[in-house]
Amino acid sequence: MQGTLTQKLLAKAAGREAVQPGEIVHIEPDLVMTHDHQGPMTLCEFNQMGIKKVWNPEKIVIVLDHRTPTQSTIAAQNHQLLRKFAKDQGITRFFDVGEGICHDILAEKGFVQPGKLIVATDSHTVTAGAIGAFATGIGSSEMAAVWARGKLWLRVPETIKVILTGKPPAFVGGKDVALKLLQVLTTDGATYKAVEFHGDGLRYLNMDERMTLCNMCLEMGAKNAIIPPDEVTEDFLKEKEITDYEVITPDKNAEYSRVIEINLLDLEPLVAKPYSPDNVAAAKEVEEENVVINQAIIGTCTNGRMTDMRLAAKILEGKKVKPGVRFLIVPATKKVYLQAVKEGLVEIFTNAGAMVGVPCCGPCGAYGMGAMADDEVCITAGSRNFVGRLGAPEARIYLGNSATVAASAVAGKVIDPRSMMGGV
């Protein structure tokens, strides 16, 4: 087999020696996931097909994470339907309200492993590429068809190679690498394509940061993002006692549609301004624009992991959130929440004046929390700042890393965390 990592994984899944970009392959996924946002529609479509049993209950995961803790009667009804469905179908990998965000659950529970082929009814499914899997999003009807038949078609994508070199400075992480890449590629620069990461700079990005980076590749339009398994991957999986996975790596002579090099040493904390994730500027520059904020958010599948919690605590310890700023911190999973409690971080957050929420997707799209009025401004560690993403269409959303968000919450305006903590 010759090719980029994505080509090799698709070739393997299709039972082929090699595949070329543009080809359509028909494959059976190793794992499929849906949640309470797209799951109810998936269930409607599945029921309309009149099929009694899913193709393979062991390959199906269902997570209730978007409208949680249960926000409305209709959400409660949707949850009820999915619970019953999981029970009737013998789907044991069912995660109820409060367990956390689906992409983090898949990674945390060890369901994502290098070489696996994963599809899920969520655009940010690409996050799983951080662990060397091929993972991409599909819609509800298609998931119903996969539940029924266990097959789907995929077009083999071209691959963009991103080479990361050097060590990132303080308060620069996966989010800033992603924003830099968004600046280069724009919001459709990777559409239909795979983004594959290489280079010695990767060793400075832990699994949390890698998940942030792969997660945000969706905002460039990527079909999937992927990091070939290395020592960081190995250590992450070893902790879960997973050692018997197949290591597949891209070929040296693989063909890439584009090669982009980023020296992490040259990066600084970046911010995406309204209303597009590719409207990127240095946090330092935005600081000079004196953007007063009403809300700050740390959480979501982009930045709700322990690395983010620790970073936020480092900045908030002994400080206070600026009066008038509502600061929401929502750990991605119950495990992250508990660890933050154990390390005393929840106490630091609460003393500083932040609010700590139940693990869920909520503040990413104002699902039961984080809603804004028209003339308000928010800085979030999430992934999207589209028009109306947090409710009111005129509300202005800035995206930044967790340090930038925490420092901005204290300052009451968008700032570069280094202005508060040093490190320039």
Partner: protein, 172 residues
Amino acid sequence: MKDCSLFIVSGKVWTFGDNCDTGQIVPGRYIPVTDSHELAKHAFEDVAPNFVKEVQKGDIVVAGTNFGCGSSREHAPKALKFAGVSAVVAESFARIFYRNALNIGLLAIPVFGIRKETKQGDLLEIDVTRGIVKNCTRNKTFKFVPYDQFIIDMLAEGGITKYTLKMLEKND
């Protein structure tokens, strides 16, 4: 029987710009809704409040680049289809929207260069099998690469749900 009328459509144009995300097509607050007719009442609610009131069966959405980016919500193409839209023609599509649209039997057609040549209210005619979009108002013709055969087959069945049932009947 294949529904041949699906493959030649015509209608009045609604124009949208670049990067129209699925949250603009159906705001996040309606995601718990699964009924397509109900979703259709909220299509473009925040960005084009007149759309639902004025859209007519067969109308065609013409948009710029990266149409349907953002969330994977199938609610977006379903809302458009059930509001009466026969096709979305855009400079380019975000991949999940594109896939979702075809899966539910809504035509999504990437046509480079069409947005700036098309105005709100123009009359378009699309020949899906031959890969031609004609702007009847301005007498201009655009070409696109026709779909792969299995997409045509799926569209002819009315979408992926019925197509899957047929495949299962054939034990495929």
